[in-house]
Symmetry: C2
Subunit: 123 residues, 2 copies
């Protein structure tokens, strides 16, 4: 079903109506949360649009998998490791991480780093 | 190949390094431009991330097609018709438009309305 999730947040805390924050408490991940903006709940058949928050000091897992990522930075700034290179990213930078590329998102700054990350839906 | 398109714009003009603006001059479309942030140039296999700008008075075509849209408003505000309803959208609103739903984006305001729109890649 078509759906609009209104943004209800502010510069420090990005939130959307009807979207839950899911703390990520897995090995290799620190101070991070996920929000699924468009996914199974909306009946999205081909891709999933998630929003990740990395709090100061937070990071995702250093990982490699077959799914590619389409990233749009929405909040703050952070770093992305792609392969063996580390890049600074800022609001509205667009990043494509191809499948099977080693990558990690991290936030060495003192404000939240938030970004949209699109992945194809696995069959 | 993995790639970063740095945002080089400002509040009135959203631009990215290495991304061209393509004016949309088709029937039913007015004062609109498209930028492909992630697509064939980046080797994206499953989805395409575009950024559309609707200038004041601009609109997309009122259309219906099988591909769904995943939308994230980045710039300004505008309106989206979904089915026979018209919704106001603002910065950071997330919108899912399911396949085969009639839809149109429009900008009745006096500043640019810009949004990311993800579509699955057609085979």
């Amino acid at each position: 079903m078509s759906e609009i999730h209104k943004f209800t947040g502010n510069v420090n805390q990005y939130e959307w109506e009807g979207v839950q924050s899911i703390p990520l408490e897995m090995e290799g991940i620190r101070d991070a949360a996920k929000r699924i903006l468009i996914g199974n709940n909306e009946g999205a058949p081909n891709f999933i649009m998630r929003f990740f928050t990395l709090y100061p000091g937070g990071h995702s897992r250093l990982e490699r998998h077959s799914q590619e990522h389409g990233v749009m930075v929405l909040q703050g700034k952070g770093k992305i490791q792609i392969g063996d290179e580390l890049f600074d990213v800022n609001q509205f930078d667009a990043v494509f991480i191809e499948g099977n590329e080693l990558h990690q998102f991290s936030n060495p700054h003192d404000a939240p780093f938030g970004f949209v990350c699109v992945i194809p839906k696995l069959d």
